[in-house]
């Protein structure tokens, strides 16, 4: 077991785990960052989505060996106290039901809006449809993304 230095939410962590340990389990088991969820472990649900240098990635598919040198952001590090426009929009649109898929969904939406401040509905559908919400919060999620996009374009306090 090698020591690996990881950058998570702006802080450096040295972890000692097997090379093939997925980032998901490092976050959850080693670092106690349980906001990132396990939903399938095989890349089909999106519950484990985090940002890698601003891009949405599935932490269950990134082995430790591929995680070094990248900057990861998890739901816990997205903003101080839930103030990111996506988080606010999510609350304003009352998106969550059970809430379990929501951290992954929010991270996916953040990455989408970062690259496309003005996404079409088609693009929102395409990007968000890689993830599963069994509670069916999609209509509200869609509205939250519109709202967050607007917020980010013309931030008002």
């Amino acid at each position: 077991m090698e020591k690996t230095e990881l950058t998570i939410n702006g802080a450096k962590h040295v972890v000692q785990v097997d090379d093939d340990t997925p980032l998901l389990w490092i976050l959850r088991d080693t670092l106690g960052l349980t906001g990132t969820k396990f939903g399938c472990g095989v890349g089909v649900c999106g519950a484990c989505t985090v940002l890698a240098d601003g891009q949405a990635v599935r932490s269950c598919q990134i082995p430790c060996s591929a995680a070094a040198g990248r900057n990861f952001t998890t739901i816990e590090g997205l903003s101080p106290n839930g103030s990111h426009p996506c988080q606010r929009a999510w609350l304003e649109e009352e998106v969550a039901q059970c809430g379990f898929c929501q951290p992954g969904m929010i991270m996916t939406a953040c990455a989408l809006l970062r690259e496309n401040p003005n996404p079409t509905d088609g693009l929102i559908d395409k990007v968000m449809s890689d993830s599963v919400c069994r509670c069916g919060t999609y209509p509200r999620m869609r509205r939250a993304i519109w709202r967050a996009a607007e917020q980010m374009r013309s931030p008002k306090q």
Binding site: D18, K37, T74, Q97, G99, S131, R134, Y138, R142
Partner: protein, 717 residues
């Protein structure tokens, strides 16, 4: 919220008093004395810092129950909404904390408000005594008692010490609903902030000192024996502590989740080949179809009154309903810490008491030595009424002599579900010489669920069979002659309640066949429903159906959807409605588009719901939307199939569920109700959505769809 809480905590340091009001199912209990330890079976505790702690006896799995129950309490207590804190109840001897059947809000409606009103009255009495004024000149508002004539006020926190010394009034008057300030208001989820910041803790997030992680390899079909297994290979995986053979499979216990998963893969377990007659869902479907022709147990029988025309024409159809998985995003999991003479569990469950009893039995200790901590649930849908995963965790912890978290993989969750059972429905309708429908017959061939003990004594009782055929026996339409029946077919794989319990299959068949009757009659399906809902306004058929409420929701969707307007080629519009157990009335109009590639897309859903008194409109809308999406999944996406005794699907890739791109425009109209009480909303939206989609597809393609999920081959060519 947090700032004000902190401010009040200062006052708390001054006094250790609190007012506790409990409820033992019969009476409100005496307020606890100063500094009394918090009783988990208390409903309410008000501390000197003004914080109101409400113990929630129901499991939160996305239905917003924590918020809506807190609203009931806050309303009668005149509490300050920002000062409410929630604690999850654990079962105690005689408790009943199970969550299912959309029953939480209804069963809590009276006792919670009664407790809130009693506390308000005690606080008012305490304030009046302190000021030496007449009680009637004092009012409660926003967490304080106010004496308007003198402009004085005292926060609840300042009064709890005095109030706790008073007897608990048993029959404090409840507020008239026209004075409600909180009930009926759009209220945000109490745990919303925790969810969007990743702080919400689900079962999977529990971590206790010394906890190990386990993964369990189960036999693929019931009774399979292991042929080959590489135990040593598993043991040699870094971090693996032990490999344990259990009644339910082979567990790998390790320091981390990943080591447990890797260790389990290293087992490379090979199992016996299934016997030739192992369970197969295709064979089962044929068995069900044959059974649907039997008479079965008659669940409702109404003979046509004299003067009804003779039947001169009959139509009939057979509807097939498949197996489905619950597939919540949080897989089954449980943390168990088994000690010599007691055991502690942290578990996302809908059935804490049954789980407690079963684990007690397993360990040979009394149930009250099994402490159950109910966590947040990442989707329940009825799956967590089963507790197999908790029993497994306890077994592993006992063998490993350590606290253990058992986490199911996604494939475990798909393959070892407690599935929604397949059923076959045989329906027929008779018409008289004038073409009027005079007879309706619906026989459901299905299976009693087998995940919790059933009382066979009841199996000769009509209520028992009705319970397995909600939606069939309570057909709301006024056919002069009605016969409904249930035929039991044994089902050897695990199956249990699902979202809307057993209603979805029956309502699918009933509402789709009703459109066939309308077509045979040459009638518009929506107008024909309204016509067939005439006659007695209220019918009692086991459950009570108020046809006026069902007519009203149909009229709303008719008017809001533009029903009757012409529709472009390749598009179709369908309707369906249902009275869920006589409580919640829902109608949908659905627009679909059938693309040239025969792909069905639901484009718009117009919904109307009458769920009695509305506690939180946001909650109602969310459940309607979620139920509609759930229905889109079952109408158009995945099913579970069995070969060789095992479920064939293993993830969302082969048991597909609706995603964002499958989401239609949804309009929810909450119909004002004269119902005096609220009813739960988790389940009722599900049953009528699937037949509304089916009817829309039939309208678009001109081809009958009689099985699910809808596949292009149903209407190709």
């Amino acid at each position: 919220m947090m700032t004000s809480r902190r401010k009040f905590l200062k006052t708390a340091a001054l006094s250790g008093a609190s007012l506790v009001i409990g409820f033992n199912g019969v009476r409100l209990l005496q307020g606890a004395k100063t500094s009394a330890p918090f009783q988990p079976n208390a409903w309410i505790r008000i501390d000197a810092d003004g914080i109101v702690t409400l113990t929630i006896g129901k499991s939160e799995m996305g239905q917003g129950v924590r918020t809506s129950l807190a609203m009931l309490l806050a309303e009668e207590l005149e509490a300050d909404w920002t000062h409410i804190k929630l604690v999850q109840a654990s079962p105690w001897p005689g408790s009943d904390l199970g969550t299912g059947g959309s029953d939480s809000i209804r069963s809590s409606w009276k006792p919670l408000r009664q407790a809130g009103a009693a506390a308000r009255e005690m606080l008012t009495t305490a304030a009046a005594a302190r000021w030496k004024v007449d009680r009637s000149s004092c009012t409660a508002s926003h967490g304080a008692i106010i004496h308007s004539p003198s402009g004085r006020s005292l926060n609840y926190g300042e009064l709890v010490g005095d109030a706790a010394k008073l007897p608990v009034p048993q029959d404090s008057p409840l507020k008239d609903k026209k004075n409600f300030k909180i009930i009926g208001q759009r209220t945000s989820r109490i745990d919303g902030h925790d969810i969007v910041t990743g702080k919400a803790r689900y079962g999977i997030d529990v971590k206790i000192p010394g906890m190990l992680h386990a993964s369990l390899e189960r036999p693929p079909w019931d009774g399979a024996k292991v042929k080959r297994v590489q135990e040593d290979a598993a043991r040699s995986v870094g971090g693996v502590r032990s490999v344990i053979k259990l009644s339910r499979g082979i567990a790998v216990v390790a320091d981390t989740s990943w080591s447990a998963i890797k260790g389990r893969t290293a087992l490379a377990a090979e199992w016996d080949d299934p016997p030739k007659d192992a369970f197969d869902s295709e064979t089962h479907a044929r068995r069900l179809e044959t059974a649907s022709r039997e008479t079965g147990f008659i669940t409702r029988s109404e003979k046509a009154p004299a003067g009804t025309g003779d039947i001169t024409k009959t139509i009939e159809a057979t509807y097939h309903y498949p197996f489905y998985a619950h597939a919540p995003v949080e897989t089954m999991n449980c943390v168990a810490d088994v000690r010599e003479d007691h055991c502690t569990l942290w578990v996302p469950t809908q059935a804490p008491e049954r789980l407690q009893n079963r684990v007690g039995e397993l360990l040979g200790i009394p149930a009250d030595k099994v402490e159950v901590n109910i966590t947040l649930i990442g989707g329940g849908f009825g799956r967590r009424l089963g507790f197999d995963y908790a029993v497994e965790a306890a077994e592993i912890s006992r063998a490993a002599k350590a606290p253990v978290q058992l986490l199911w993989s996604r494939a475990d969750d798909m393959k070892h579900g407690h599935f929604q059972a397949a059923s076959v429905h045989y329906l027929s309708a008779g018409f008289d010489a004038q073409g009027r429908p005079v007879a309706w017959k619906h026989t459901k061939a299905g299976s009693f669920h087998n995940i919790s003990p059933l009382d066979p004594k009841e199996a000769h009782d009509v209520a028992w069979y009705q319970d397995w055929s909600w939606g069939a026996y309570d057909v709301p339409y006024a056919f002069p002659e009605i016969q409904t029946a249930y035929v039991t077919v044994n089902l050897p794989v695990k199956h249990g309640p699902w979202r809307a319990v057993f209603a979805p299959s029956s309502v699918f068949a009933r509402e789709a066949f009703f459109d066939e009757v309308a077509q045979a009659r040459g009638a518009d399906p929506l107008a024909f429903r309204l016509e067939m809902l005439k006659g007695a306004d209220v019918i009692k058929v086991g459950s009570t159906v108020d046809r006026r409420r069902l007519r009203r929701v149909l009229e709303v969707v008719r008017d809001k959807s533009g029903w009757g307007a012409s529709i472009a080629k390749g598009h179709g519009r369908g309707v369906a409605c249902n009275a869920y157990f006589g409580h919640t009335y829902i109608a949908y109009v659905v627009d679909v588009a059938v693309a040239p590639g025969n792909n069905v897309r639901v484009e718009r859903v117009v919904a109307a719901v009458d769920c009695g008194l509305v506690v939180n409109p946001i909650g109602v809308e969310q459940q309607m939307e979620g139920g509609i999406i759930w229905g889109i999944s079952s109408a158009l996406k995945g099913e579970i199939t069995f070969r060789g005794g095992a479920a064939q699907q293993s993830s969302y890739a082969d048991f597909e569920v609706a995603r964002m791109h499958d989401t239609p425009a949804i309009e929810v109209h909450i119909v004002p109700s004269d119902g005096p009480e609220p009813f739960g909303m988790g389940e009722p939206p599900v049953p009528p959505i699937v037949p509304a989609i089916v009817n829309a597809v039939v309208a678009a393609t001109g081809k009958r769809v009689r099985s699910l999920p809808i596949r292009p081959e149903h209407f190709r060519g």
